[in-house]
C-alpha cells in the first residue's frame, strides 16, 4: 500500500477498493513503555449502498465527520453497522443517524431501544448470516468468535474478502511518528503476541478464565467459513497477512489464558 520514500500514510486510508479505514490512535503506558492503540471504523462503499462498520469515539466525532464527508463525496451512508453497544463501536451512532436521515442502524440491536429511544423506527435488527446488499458487494453478518458484549457481530465483505472483527485481532503499536496508519505488514517490526495483551487483558478479560484452544477453534471456524484477504480490527492495525497475524492472535490468547490459575 506504500512505497519506499513516500510520506507515511494517514487516515483515512483505502485498504481495498472502495473500503476505507478511519481511526483515532490513543497513547497509553504499558510497563513504562508508551504504545498506541487504534479505535477504528470502516466505510464500505458499494455500487448502490454504503455501510459504515463501527462509528468511532464521540470525542473524535468532529474529525471523523470531516473525513467521512470527504471520502463519501456526496453519497450518503445507508447502513450504520455498530458491531456492539460500547462507546468505541457505537458512540457516534446518534450524530451519524442525524447526518444521514435515511440511514438504518443495523446490528444485533438488543437493548438499543434504551440507548437510542428516538431512533427505533430506523432499527434493522440483524443476526448471524443476514446480509447487507450494497449492490456489487455484500456485507454478511458473521458470528463474533471473540467478543466482550454478547450481542457482537463481525462482518464479511464478499467482494474483497475483508473480515471486520471488532474487538478481535487487537494489537498495539509503538509510539513512533507515522506508524498509526500502517498495516501489519508495513510496520518496521512484526507484531508479537505480547502486543495483543493490553486489549485482550482489558476488554477481553474473560479470556484468562477460558481455555484458549476453545476460543481459537471458534476463530478458525469463522476463518474457514469466511476466508479473509484482509482483517480489519477496531483495536489493531489493518491486517494484510491474516495467516501470520492469526498466529499472533492465537499466541496472545494462549498467553493470557490460565494466567490466574
Amino acid at each position: 500500500m506504500t512505497g519506499d520514500g513516500e510520506a507515511p500514510p494517514r487516515f483515512p486510508r483505502e485498504i481495498a477498493p472502495n473500503t476505507f479505514w478511519f481511526s483515532t490512535c490513543l497513547p497509553f503506558s504499558v510497563n513504562g513503555r508508551e504504545v498506541h492503540n487504534h479505535n477504528s471504523c470502516f466505510l464500505v462503499i458499494g455500487r448502490d449502498r454504503v455501510a459504515l462498520v463501527d462509528t468511532g469515539l464521540p470525542f473524535s466525532w468532529d474529525e471523523l465527520k470531516g473525513q467521512l464527508l470527504d471520502v463519501l463525496a456526496g453519497r450518503d451512508i445507508d447502513y450504520v453497522f455498530a458491531t456492539h453497544p460500547e462507546s468505541p463501536h457505537m458512540g457516534n451512532a446518534g450524530p451519524l443517524m442525524d447526518m444521514f436521515p435515511h440511514a438504518q442502524l443495523v446490528g444485533d440491536l438488543r437493548n438499543y431501544h434504551l440507548y437510542h429511544p428516538k431512533l427505533t423506527h430506523r432499527f434493522s435488527h440483524k443476526r448471524e448470516g443476514d446480509v447487507l446488499d450494497l449492490g456489487d458487494r455484500q456485507l454478511i453478518m458473521v458470528p463474533a468468535a471473540v467478543h466482550d458484549l454478547k450481542n457482537t457481530l463481525w462482518g464479511y465483505d464478499t467482494l474483497h474478502h475483508v473480515l471486520f472483527v471488532s474487538d478481535g485481532y487487537p494489537y498495539t503499536h509503538e509510539h513512533e511518528a507515522g506508524q498509526c496508519a500502517l498495516t501489519s505488514e508495513e510496520l518496521p517490526y512484526a507484531p508479537a503476541p505480547e502486543d495483543t495483551g493490553p486489549v485482550i487483558e482489558g476488554a477481553l478479560g474473560w479470556t484468562r478464565h477460558v481455555d484458549a484452544e476453545l476460543v481459537i477453534a471458534d476463530v478458525l471456524e469463522v476463518l474457514r467459513r469466511y476466508p479473509p484477504s484482509i482483517i480489519a480490527p477496531a483495536h489493531g492495525g489493518v491486517v494484510t497477512n491474516p495467516d501470520q497475524l492469526t498466529e499472533v492472535f492465537k499466541g496472545g490468547l494462549r498467553r493470557v489464558s490460565g494466567a490466574d490459575a
Partner: protein, 271 residues
C-alpha cells in the same frame, strides 16, 4: 421521575423500570416481570456521588430526580463501566448540571471522551482518572473504596462503602427482576429469592463466557473478597437491590452456587 428509594441515611437508589422483553434485551427467553435500571446517589455535605448515569431512555426522569436530591451540591459522576447503562446520560448530565465532575477508570481515552457533550463542557469539566483498588477519599468520599470485580465483561469497577457496608456491584448480582411495577426495588430479606438454576441461566445470557470458564481461580478470588468484605447491602446497576447483612450473605451464597457449583442438576459442568 425515576423511582427513588432510600437505602441508608445518605444513599438513594434511582430505579427506572423496563418490562422484561427477551426478544430485545439480554434476558433469558423465559423471563417475565420488570427490570430495574439502577443509579445510586451518595450524599455528602458538599458533594454527591452518582454511580452510573443510566440509559438514554431514562434521561429526563434521572435528571429530574437528581435535581431534587442533589440540590446545589457538587455532582461527581462515576460510571462503573463503559456500557450504555453506565454512560448513557454522561453527556447530558455534564451539559445540564453546572457543578459537575467525573471520575473515570478509562486508561487511554480522554476522560470525557466516551460521550457527546458541549465543547465548552469537554474543555472545562474536571475529570479524575482512578485505578481499581484506589480509595475515593481524594475525590471527597472518604468511606468509599474501589474493588476489582470477580466477574466482569468490560473494564469494570465495584465500589465498597465502608460506612454503610454496601457493595455496588455494577452488572454482577443483577439477575433478579420485579414481578410488577409496585414491588419495591429493595429486597430486605431472602424470602422468594430466585433459584440457583434461574440465576445461572440469567448470568449466562449476559456473561456467556462463564459457561466455558475454568472457575478455580475465580472461586478463590470470590472467597478471598467475601472473607475480607461482609456487605450489608448489594447494589447492582440492574435488578433488585439487597439490603441487610443476612439477606446479602444469602445473595452472595446464591450467586456463588450459580457461578461455580458443579452440578449436573443444573445442566452445567466445569469447562
Amino acid at each position: 421521575m425515576s423511582r427513588v428509594e432510600q437505602l441508608t441515611d445518605n444513599i438513594y437508589v434511582l430505579s427506572d423500570l423496563e418490562p422484561a422483553d427477551p426478544a430485545r434485551s439480554w434476558l433469558p427467553s423465559d423471563t417475565s416481570g420488570f427490570e430495574p435500571f439502577n443509579k445510586y446517589v451518595l450524599l455528602e455535605d458538599d458533594c454527591a456521588l452518582l454511580i452510573e448515569t443510566g440509559a438514554a431512555a431514562h434521561d429526563e426522569s434521572i435528571q429530574e430526580s437528581l435535581r431534587e436530591i442533589v440540590k446545589d451540591r457538587l455532582l461527581v459522576i462515576l460510571p462503573t463501566r463503559s456500557e450504555l447503562e453506565s454512560i448513557g446520560n454522561m453527556g447530558s448530565i455534564i451539559d445540564n448540571f453546572p457543578r459537575v465532575e467525573l471520575i473515570t477508570t478509562t486508561r487511554a481515552l480522554p476522560p470525557l471522551g466516551l460521550a457527546h457533550m458541549r465543547p465548552d463542557r469537554r474543555e472545562s469539566v474536571k475529570a479524575r482518572r482512578i485505578v481499581r483498588g484506589e480509595k475515593l477519599a481524594g475525590a471527597g468520599f472518604p468511606t468509599l473504596d474501589t474493588v476489582t470485580p470477580i466477574i466482569r465483561i468490560l473494564n469494570t469497577i465495584w465500589i465498597h462503602d465502608r460506612r454503610s457496608g454496601i457493595l455496588f456491584t455494577s452488572d454482577t448480582f443483577s439477575n433478579e427482576l420485579l414481578p410488577d411495577r409496585e414491588t419495591t426495588t429493595i429486597r430486605r430479606d431472602s424470602f422468594g429469592l430466585p433459584d440457583v438454576a434461574a440465576v445461572r441461566r440469567s448470568i449466562i445470557a449476559r456473561f456467556d463466557w462463564v459457561e466455558r470458564a475454568r472457575t478455580q481461580a475465580l472461586q478463590r478470588q470470590w472467597a478471598d473478597l467475601f472473607a475480607l468484605i461482609k456487605p450489608t447491602g448489594i447494589a447492582p446497576s440492574l435488578g433488585r437491590v439487597t439490603m441487610g447483612a443476612d439477606a446479602a450473605a444469602d445473595a452472595i451464597d446464591l450467586y456463588r452456587r450459580a457461578l461455580f457449583e458443579n452440578s449436573a442438576r443444573f445442566g452445567f459442568s466445569e469447562g
